[in-house]
């Protein structure tokens, strides 16, 4: 390696990556900053700092209702998708059964299909069946696209689980139910939690599929989409910023605690 490429390897990549991170964070910073804007009708021009948007979030028509709707949909869809997906993940790793490849393909296809197609398909089905669109159809739709992501996430965890642990349980006369409740489930829990968080995040931020299947039911992204034509109220920025901060704090604290655990484990060895 010559001097230039050594220099490049040492510094240019650091400079590039720092700029790249700044670029990635620009719209996030913009959204957060404008949640403090003393805006009147449209939140486009900076008019001065205020905390009013934060202290009176629910003042803006419909923001809080939409946010609450998104939370309800996210929680219910996450519970359903996590349960169904975890069961499939266990079956895929632990069992050989006929149509195994077809099952894998069935789980892969929803992830490889554009959201418009998923949304339009479900809407066409509900239309044909005469189902009224609303909170139920949104939950059904969200559960559908979350299942595959749950399977992917939990499967990795099941694959790394040592079956000898469960065998030891059975050797000690534990019933199959006890083996699952006391050994399998606790060991899978980190994977299941990760899958549930991913599902919730996907559901909470979904717009395209929701738009096709919600009728007059308004989720937070749908609220933003409708408001975009006439100007987003700063209160929407408040909610998005709060969600962002909570999510980041959560991710960073999990990383720090797992780093601390690894350090302790390394010390004990």
């Amino acid at each position: 390696m010559n001097a230039f490429s050594r220099w490049f390897g040492r510094y240019a990549l650091w400079i590039y990556s720092t700029l790249a991170f700044v670029f990635l964070l620009v719209p996030i910073a913009y959204t957060i900053v404008f949640s403090f804007n003393d805006s009147r009708r449209s939140n486009i021009v900076w008019r001065g700092f205020t905390l009013d948007n934060w202290t009176q979030v629910c003042n803006s028509q419909g923001v809080c209702e939409a946010f609450a709707n998104s939370l309800v949909v996210g929680v219910v869809a996450t519970v359903l998708a996590t349960a169904l997906g975890t069961m499939i993940a266990i079956a895929l790793v632990r069992f050989r059964f006929p149509f195994r490849n077809s099952t894998t393909l069935l789980l892969f296809l929803p992830m490889a299909t554009p959201e418009v197609v998923l949304g339009a398909g479900l809407a066409a089905e509900f239309l044909t069946a005469g189902v009224q669109k609303g909170v139920v159809t949104v939950i059904l739709a969200h559960t559908m696209f979350c299942i595959s992501f749950v399977v992917v996430t939990v499967r990795a965890r099941v694959a790394s689980l040592d079956p000898a642990l469960e065998e030891a349980g059975r050797d000690l006369y534990a019933s199959p139910g006890q083996v699952f409740a006391r050994i399998t489930f606790p060991l899978l829990l980190p994977g299941i939690v990760a899958a549930a968080l991913l599902s919730f995040a996907l559901s909470f931020d979904d717009f395209i599929i929701t738009n096709f299947n919600s009728g007059s039911f308004v989720t937070f992204p749908k609220y933003v989409y409708t408001a975009a034509a006439r100007g987003i109220p700063a209160e929407a920025n408040v909610i998005a910023s709060a969600v962002f901060v909570i999510a980041i704090v959560f991710v960073v604290s999990t990383q720090l605690s797992s780093a601390a655990r690894r350090k302790r484990a390394a010390k004990n060895q």
Binding site: L92, P110, A124, S258
Partner: protein
């Protein structure tokens, strides 16, 4: 492998699973989820197929259709919306290349350069996925404001005469592709990072030892070893980008002549109630995307899909 990049939470070496043949248990575990997908994924595709052949009810209201077998629906849809289809694929492909060019060095930095600093590496990964945690629509709207005519960036372009007076940044093909690329950069960066994280640097050194220039080592050693991640990232970017209609929407980064196929499907389904057109276009889009994906699936096998 493909979509596993997101589930890869520090997995230990896979333990050889004790394969059991009690298929009744397997059936109980599988049946609810598989039935769910049959009803809410496969059946909707079938109803798209049925809808796509429907004909309007004679003397009926708007949005009333009856079962028919109108092949012409497809030919007329393709004839009418070929520009939108081509535009969608051109935009999505350009955005994918842009995201790759942007994301690869970043993934290399996190996966290789930051190896010696685990805490910094974790922080960098968090920064890459940070855009996921703020509303997709709001971050796209943020770019709309940042690229609007009043923004300092566009004023600077006008001031430097890089942008002719009267020309805008938003509402153009550029801003739509820019938005698509920005929104899907994490999807590109993470799988490449997963590939590069395992990259054995001795191979790269070997390239230098064998008198390869850094450039040829890069293209003949590093890139092939990162290929699985590049392919996954390209699929994860291209598929959602091709069907997206937020970025191209006129309320967001699009303009009058940037409508993508997603915009057409949305307008036909939700506004015009022209269900057969929306259904036929959805299926055309799906087939057009599934062709390249199945080439990839056939090469890698179904077991590596998840």
């Amino acid at each position: 492998m493909a979509f596993g990049a997101f589930g890869a939470t520090a997995t230990a070496a896979p333990v050889e699973p004790a394969i059991r043949r009690r298929s009744r248990v397997a059936l109980v575990l599988l049946l609810p989820g598989v039935l769910y997908l049959a009803v809410f994924f496969l059946a909707p595709l079938l109803s798209l197929v049925i809808t796509s052949f429907q004909a309007p009810v004679e003397f009926g209201d708007i949005g009333q259709y009856q079962t028919a077998f109108r092949w012409e629906n497809y030919t007329s849809v393709i004839a009418t919306y070929a520009p939108h289809l081509l535009r969608s694929f051109a935009y999505a492909a350009t955005a994918t290349v842009a995201a790759l060019l942007f994301g690869f060095p970043l993934a290399y930095f996190i996966g290789v350069t930051l190896r010696r600093f685990p805490l910094l590496q974790a922080l960098a990964l968090t920064l890459v996925i940070a855009p996921f945690f703020i509303s997709f629509l709001l971050r796209t709207l943020a770019w709309k404001q940042l690229l609007s005519d009043e923004s300092w960036f566009v004023s600077a372009l006008h001031g430097l005469q890089l942008l002719p007076p009267g020309e805008h940044v938003t509402g153009t093909a550029f801003s739509v592709i820019f938005g698509l690329a920005y929104n899907f950069i994490p999807f590109m960066t993470l799988p490449i990072y997963t590939s590069l994280e395992k990259l054995d640097l001795r191979y790269v050194e070997a390239g230098g030892d064998l008198y390869a220039t850094p450039a040829s080592t890069f293209f003949r050693v590093t890139v092939p070893l990162a290929a699985p991640g590049i392919v996954s990232g390209a699929l994860l970017t291209f598929i959602p980008a091709a069907g997206d209609y937020i970025n191209a929407s006129r309320d967001f980064l699009g303009g009058t002549d940037t409508a993508m196929i997603g915009n057409v499907i949305e307008a036909n389904f939700l506004v015009l109630q022209n269900y057969p057109v929306a259904a036929a276009l959805s299926l055309v889009l799906m087939v057009a995307i599934l062709v390249p994906v199945s080439v990839y699936v056939l090469r890698s096998g179904t077991d590596d899909l998840l």
